[in-house]
């Protein structure tokens, strides 16, 4: 299935991407996706942590992704 991946902050610099279409197996959880991403973009391992948002809401690791989800990689925020 296809999802859209969005990159922000330092993850844009680490991956060289802003937004890509990404092909995934079905029944993939957020935790699974994190592992897939770190294989595809090994530089993400340099970060202590990052959160995942699905369709503009923070997602738990156990959430199962669906076709056409918009998935954002959220590095530690630093607004304010």
């Amino acid at each position: 299935m296809k999802i859209q991946l969005l990159f922000f902050g330092i993850t844009t610099d680490l991956t060289g991407e802003n937004s890509i279409n990404f092909e995934l197996n079905t029944d993939i959880t957020v935790q699974d996706l994190k592992e897939v991403l770190m294989q595809k973009f090994p530089k993400l391992k340099n970060m202590h942590q990052f959160a995942i948002a699905v369709n503009e809401e923070y997602a738990e690791d156990t959430l199962t992704l669906k076709e056409n989800d918009v998935v954002a990689i959220i590095p530690p925020v630093s607004g304010g």
Binding site: A72, V77, S78, G79, G80
Partner: protein, 141 residues
């Protein structure tokens, strides 16, 4: 129902008067304001400018959650949370939080809650620029 929250992300200069005017009300005994300003140094290193970027639709949602939670959690009347994005220079204002309440304690507490939570949850990032380079704040690549 009267709108009690004003949430905004803009690439324009933030408008303090607009925040004040939104929360000001005859029923209120006070207004607490937090104004974030760009500091000229980080750990003794001179900063030239800050570049703020955000995941805007999600950032707006998270800011709205903070405003809605503050209204439930504290005895306040109105709250405004405005954040700027783009390049800001020393002394510029990246964030304004304004809270009005009948009694001052609730406004102070809600204001502190709002800025503390914003810094933890709202997907906005700042890159610090120095004379000799740049670094994303809060990350350790």
């Amino acid at each position: 129902m009267e709108n009690k929250t004003s949430v905004k992300i803009t690439s324009d200069t933030l408008n303090l008067q607009e925040c004040y005017n939104f929360v000001q009300d005859a029923a209120c005994g006070g207004i607490a304001l937090f104004i974030g300003t760009v500091r000229n140094a980080t750990q003794n290193k001179e900063v030239t400018l800050l570049d703020f970027s955000g995941y805007e639709p999600m950032a707006i949602k998270e800011m709205q959650k903070i405003a809605d939670t503050a209204l439930v959690k504290f005895a306040i009347h109105k709250i405004a949370i405005h954040h700027a994005i783009g390049e800001l220079k020393i002394g510029d204002i990246p964030v304004i939080i304004a809270v009005s309440s009948a009694h001052r304690k609730a406004a102070f507490e809600a204001c502190e809650f709002a800025i503390d939570t914003l810094k933890e949850t709202v997907p906005i990032w700042k890159k610090e620029h120095f004379e000799d380079g740049e670094v994303w704040v809060n990350t350790h690549p």
